[in-house]
């Protein structure tokens, strides 16, 4: 077990979170920085995820490290019945860091417990995806200039959407006000409402994506309503278009409003929103590179002061 592993956003405290955000800001200004010279990083993608894998691999490459790994478990020994324990122990002999994505929930936690090499969770089923949360936070910080006292509206699938749960948890330090906009079937689970109650975090629940909610928001975090979440297909047909955002709905919104979305989107954000300067989802994806550079350097215990001093010397 390595203490620098990042499996869940709840593994790190406020200080560590802000250290990662500061690193991300540094890497945005200096994306090419050979601090991983001579290091080898494994990207073990037991489940395909092109977007996340490319982002992590780009981050390693821009930091001067080397990448080994696989993007599909069907080409590995796990398809022959090798346990995760054995795969992780074997790979640990070769690399300085493991970045893994797995279709099973809890896989990254377990992997982090069977090796001394740091493990970064790049998504484990519907459970955790901490690098997404870091990039969401970084996007909010960058566009708003602060994380404090913001009104954040989360829309769509708040029940199964792991990104909204992790973001909610990470925002706890910054006095947010949340609006949870969803149909009753997909509303924020009770445990997260209790999380807010226990910490005095203000929130509202709404079925209606109303102009009042839109116009009071600093951040609108859109998510996709997935057909497979519904037992009743008629119910899906009823609600699927209730939470679609169109450009005309943003006419009276706050000037600092930004629209975020973890992507991929289907039709929950109309194409005419893309050209609105308040649309931020594509820039948000780019921030994923800096967020992942930050997470990788922290996991490897790289001291940023030394990095910055070296950068000045050069």
């Amino acid at each position: 077990m390595n203490k620098n592993s990042l499996v869940s956003i709840s593994d790190i405290n406020r200080e560590e979170l802000e250290d990662i955000l500061a690193r991300a800001a540094y890497f945005e200004a200096h994306p090419n920085n050979k601090v991983l010279d001579g290091r080898v990083v494994a990207t073990l993608f037991f489940e395909p995820s092109t977007r996340t894998r490319l982002s992590f691999e780009t981050a390693v490459n821009r930091l001067g490290g080397r990448v080994i790994g696989f993007s599909d478990a069907s080409t590995t020994s796990s398809s022959k019945g090798e346990t995760l324990n054995d795969t992780i122990k074997m790979v640990s002999n070769y690399v300085d860091l493991i970045i893994m994505r797995h279709y099973l929930e809890g896989a990254a936690r377990y992997a982090s417990e069977v090796t001394d090499v740091p493990v970064i969770n790049a998504g484990d089923g519907a459970n955790q995806h901490p690098s997404q949360t870091i990039l969401d936070l970084y996007s909010i910080l960058k566009t708003q200039g602060t994380l404090k006292d913001l009104t954040i509206t989360m829309v769509g699938d708040l029940k199964y959407g792991r990104t909204v749960h992790s973001l909610l948890q990470a925002m706890q330090y910054y006095n947010p006000t949340f609006n949870f906009v969803a149909c009753p079937e997909l509303q924020m689970p009770r445990e997260y409402l209790e999380f807010c109650n226990e910490r005095g975090i203000k929130y509202s629940l709404s079925e209606d994506f109303s102009p009042e909610i839109i116009n009071s928001s600093d951040i609108i975090y859109m998510t996709r309503v997935q057909r497979e979440r519904f037992a009743d297909i008629m119910e899906y047909e009823r609600v699927k278009d209730l939470y679609n955002l169109e450009n005309s709905m943003l006419a009276q919104s706050k000037p600092n409003l930004k629209i975020l979305h973890p992507l991929p989107r289907v039709n929950e954000i109309a194409r005419d929103v893309d050209s609105n300067p308040k649309a931020y989802y594509f820039d948000q994806a780019r921030n994923g590179l800096y967020a992942r550079q930050a997470i990788i350097t922290r996991a490897l215990g790289i001291d940023m002061n030394a990095v910055k001093e070296k950068a000045i010397e050069l």
Binding site: T83, L84, N85, G106, Y110, G125, N127, Q128
Partner: protein, 150 residues
Amino acid sequence: MKKELAVAALHSGTVIDRIPSNALFKAVKLLGIENINEHVTIGNNLDSNKLGSKGIIKVANTVFSNDILDRIALIAPTATVNIIEDFEVVEKKPVVLPDTITGIVRCGNPKCITNNEPMDTKFHVISREPVVIRCHYCNHAVAGKDANVD
């Protein structure tokens, strides 16, 4: 009038009393009673002032470790343990739910790593009244009374 015993008295051994009736057979399993060769008496649906209906397990000439007894706190937090010597109760104690439960409960989430890898399960107790536990790995939460101990 002396209360009539529904189950015969024990010379020496352990009596586990006040088990909710619907948890009795889970308790039998958790305690590994089927592997004990001493006399075992199991009673269920007995009258109880506190529980309405209760189960009881009497095992002759056997003292369980606290680790084993505390397993049943998950499904039967009301249970009490009486250690008997020469027909006398020499010790009476409640079962105590530990903060972490390792290797007893199976996670109810089929996509949890613990259901797909040869490994011990691990649960954290997140509420004691009512008992709620959460999987250390996949974060799936379940009420203690619904925990899968098979």
